[in-house]
C-alpha cells in the first residue's frame, strides 16, 4: 500500500511541454510541418482551379471520347483517324511498351556482355569496352536517338533504289528482308490450316527443354556427371517442330515484302523511327548496365574465385556457377532502376517521330484539344503505373535470387 505514495503526483499537462519536453517535441514539429505542407498544397491546388476557371478551362476528360482525327504510323491494335482520343492514347501506350520491352532485352544483353568483357584480361577488349561505356553514358540519350535516326535515313537505300534492271540496292536473306531508309521490311508468317499443331509442338518442346534442364541438374547433383545440355536443348528446340512442319506439308508460309507502287508492301514493317529509338536506348542504357554488372562481379570477394580454382573449376564454370549467382544479388536492384530509366526515356520518341504515349496523348491529342493539364496528369499517372508494375515484377525476381538462408 505504501509503495503507491512514492509515485510523483501528476502535475497536469502544460503547453510549454510541447516545446521543452522531449517526449512531445518531435510530435509537435511533425504536426507543424504537416500543417504547413497541407497549406502550401491547398494554396497551389486552389490557385490552379481559380486560374483555370478564369481561362474558362475547367478540368474535363470528355475529350477522350471524341474522334482523334489523326493517323498513327505504327498501330498494334485496330485504329484509324475516326477512333477516339482514348484509343489513340492506348495505341501510343502499346508503342511505348513495345519499344521499352525490346529495349530492356537488348540493353541487358549488351550490358552484361560489355560488363564482363570490360574485366577481361585481354587489354584490347577491356579498353574497347571502356571506350564504349564512357562514350555512350556521357552523351545525352536524345542525341544518340537523333544521331541513329540520321544515320539510318541518310545511309540506307531508298525503296526506289531496289527498282529497275540493275538496282543499286538488293534485299537480304534470299530476297525476304528489305532494309530501306523508311524502315526494315521482314516476312510476315501466314498461318495456314494445321499450323496450330506446329505451334503446339513448339510449345511442348519448350516445356521439354525446361524439364530436361531440371532432370540434368538433378542427375548432376546426384552423380556429378555433366551432360552437353546446350546441344541437346538445341536439338529439342528445332527437331520436333521441324518434323511436324514437314509432315503437315509446310502449313506456315511467309509473306515476303515486295516493291509495289511507292513502297514495299506485305510483310511486317519495322519503322526506322522505332529501330533508331530501340537501338539508341538499348546501347545507351547498356553502358550503364555494363557498369552495374562490373560492380556486381567485383563485389564478389576474390577468395571465391580462388576457392573455385582450388577445387579445379575452369574459369568459365567459375564465372557461371560461383561468381555470377553471387553477383546477381548486387546487380538486380540497380538493374531495376535502369529498366525504369529506359522505359521513361522512351518518351523521347517524339524526337524521331515515333508515336508513343507522349506523342499521341501528350502530343497531337493535347495540341488538338488544348487539354494540357488533363493530358499531362493522365500521362503522369500512366507512366507511374507502368513503372510501378515493372518495378514490382523485378522485385519478385530479386526476392527469388536473394541469399537463401537455411
Amino acid at each position: 500500500m505504501t509503495t503507491l505514495t512514492d509515485i510523483p503526483q501528476s502535475q497536469g499537462f502544460r503547453l510549454s511541454q510541447l516545446i521543452y519536453d522531449t517526449r512531445y517535441r518531435s510530435i509537435t514539429i511533425q504536426v507543424i510541418v504537416f500543417i504547413a505542407f497541407m497549406l502550401v498544397g491547398w494554396i497551389l491546388v486552389r490557385n490552379v482551379t481559380i486560374n483555370l476557371a478564369n481561362l474558362g478551362k475547367e478540368i474535363d476528360f470528355t475529350f477522350l471520347r471524341n474522334p482523334s482525327n489523326y493517323d498513327i504510323q505504327q498501330t498494334l491494335i485496330e485504329y484509324d483517324s475516326t477512333s477516339s482520343n482514348f484509343r489513340a492514347a492506348m495505341v501510343g501506350l502499346l508503342n511505348t511498351l513495345l519499344v521499352a520491352f525490346l529495349g530492356c532485352i537488348l540493353a541487358t544483353l549488351v550490358g552484361v556482355t560489355a560488363g564482363v568483357l570490360r574485366l577481361s584480361k585481354n587489354w584490347l577488349v577491356a579498353k574497347i569496352m571502356t571506350v564504349y561505356v564512357e562514350t555512350f553514358r556521357n552523351i545525352p540519350v536524345v542525341i544518340w536517338i537523333i544521331a541513329t535516326m540520321a544515320v539510318l535515313s541518310e545511309t540506307l537505300p531508298q525503296p526506289s533504289a531496289f527498282r529497275g534492271e540493275t538496282p543499286s540496292a538488293s534485299m537480304w536473306l534470299w530476297d525476304t528482308v528489305a532494309v530501306t531508309n523508311r524502315g526494315t521490311y521482314i516476312p510476315m508468317p501466314v498461318w495456314g490450316a494445321g499450323s496450330v499443331f506446329v505451334i503446339v509442338t513448339f510449345l511442348l518442346s519448350l516445356l521439354a527443354i525446361w524439364s530436361f534442364g531440371k532432370w540434368a541438374q538433378r542427375r548432376f547433383e546426384a552423380t556429378g556427371q555433366i551432360l552437353p545440355t546446350a546441344w541437346i536443348k538445341l536439338a529439342i528446340f528445332i527437331a520436333p517442330t521441324l518434323l511436324v512442319y514437314m509432315a503437315l506439308g509446310a502449313p506456315i508460309t511467309f509473306d515476303s515484302p515486295a516493291l509495289k507502287g511507292f513502297n514495299f508492301q506485305g510483310g511486317i514493317q519495322l519503322s526506322n523511327s522505332m529501330i533508331a529509338l530501340w537501338l539508341a536506348l538499348s546501347i545507351y542504357t547498356g553502358a550503364f548496365i555494363a557498369e552495374i554488372v562490373r560492380a556486381g562481379i567485383l563485389a564478389v570477394s576474390k577468395g571465391q574465385t580462388e576457392a573455385a580454382f582450388a577445387l579445379g573449376l575452369r574459369p568459365s564454370r567459375t564465372m557461371n556457377l560461383v561468381i555470377l549467382p553471387q553477383a546477381l544479388r548486387v546487380i538486380i536492384p540497380p538493374l531495376i532502376s535502369q529498366f525504369l530509366n529506359l522505359t521513361k526515356n522512351s518518351s523521347l520518341a517524339l524526337a524521331v517521330g515515333y508515336q508513343d504515349l507522349r506523342a499521341t496523348l501528350g502530343g497531337t491529342t493535347m495540341n488538338n484539344t488544348g487539354r494540357e493539364l488533363e493530358c499531362m496528369l493522365l500521362m503522369m499517372l500512366i507512366y507511374l503505373i507502368v513503372s510501378l508494375i515493372i518495378s514490382s515484377g523485378m522485385n519478385v525476381y530479386n526476392k527469388s535470387m536473394k541469399l537463401k538462408e537455411r
Binding site: G41, L44, V45, N47, V48, N51, L52, N54, L55, G56, K57, N69, Y70, D71, I72, Q73, D80, S81, T82, A150, S153, E154, Q158, S160, N181, R182, K260, G261, F262, N263, Q265, N272, S273, L350, A351, G353, Q355, A359, G363, T364, N367, N368, T369, G370, E372, L373, M376, L377, M380, L381, L384, L388
Partner: protein, 341 residues
Amino acid sequence: MKKSVFLGALTMAGLAAGAAMAQDSSTLAAVQERGALKCGVNPGTPGFAAPDANGKYIGFDVDLCRAVAAAVLGDAEKVEYTPLTSAVRFTALASGEVDMLARNTTWTFSRDVDLKNTFVGVNYYDGQGFMVPKALGVSSAKELAGATVCIETGTTTELNLADYFRVNNMDYEPVPVESFTEAQTQFLAGACDVYTTDASALAASRASFETPEAYVVLPEIISKEPLGPLVRHGDDNWGDIVRWTLNAMITAEEFGVTSANAPELVKGTENPEINRLLGVEGELGAMLGLDNAWAYNVITQVGNYGESFEKNIGENTPVGLARGLNALWTEGGLIYSPPFR
C-alpha cells in the same frame, strides 16, 4: 506509395499555377513596362520567319511582330522572338510565355473557341498542298495511294491529310516529324515520298532546296488555311491593338501610304481616312491606349502590307509567291480591312 502520387500531383499543380499566375494584368501594360514585345514565331520558314545570316529574325510573320512593337513601343526592333514548334505554340501563348503568336497558324473553330485563343485577323490566305520529287512521275494528289507522307505533328495539315486520304479511299503511311526543318531533312533524304503542308510553306521550302527544279508542287489544294496572328482570350484591348495594327498595314496599302511617302503624308492630306490613320485627325491611337502616331510608326518602320509581302515572299524573292488570294479586295483578292473611323 499513395503519398508519392499525391506529391507528384501537387508539384504538377504548382507548375501549372505558376504558369497561370503570369498572366494577371493587362498585356499592354506588361509589354510597356518590359520595354519589349514577346512574339512567338516559327523556328524557320524562309520568307515567313527565319533567322538571317546575322541571326536576326526576318520574314512576313516577323514583320507583324515588328509592327505591333512599333505601334506599342514606337520601335520595331524591340521584339523578343520565341521560336515555337507547332506542338507547343498554344501552350506557350496560354501560359503567358509570349504576348502574341505570329506563326502561320490556321484559324479554326476549335482553336478559336475551345483552345481559348483570339484570332485577330488573317494575314495570309493559304491552302494545303503536296510536294513530290519530279522523278516520281506523279502529277496529281489522287495518284498518291500507298505513299509515305511526311507531316508535322500538331498541325491542321495532319488532320486534313487524314481526312483527304479517307474521303478518297486511299492508303498512306504517315511519317510524323517534329518541325519544319526536320520534315525537309526527311523529305530530301527520301524517307518519305511526299511532303505536305501549307502551299506557301511548300514554296518557301522548295526555294531553299539545292535543286528546286527536281521537286514539284502538285496542283491540288485540299484545304482552307487562313493564317493569322492570335492572342489569348481575356484581354480584348490587347487583341484590338494587334488586330488594328494588321488593319493599319492593309489600309495603308489600300490608300497608297508607304514607308517612303508617309513622312510626307503625315503633314496632312485631303483624304480624312489617311489623316485618321496617321494620327493627324481624331484620337484613334488614344482609344487603343497608344500614342496617336502608332500607325505612322508601323508604316514608316515596317511598311504597309504590300511592301512587307513583296519584300519577304513576293515574286522577286526566292520564295516567289504571287499575291493571288492575298491581293487587296480592290484587286480581286481577299485582303480587306474595316474602315478607320
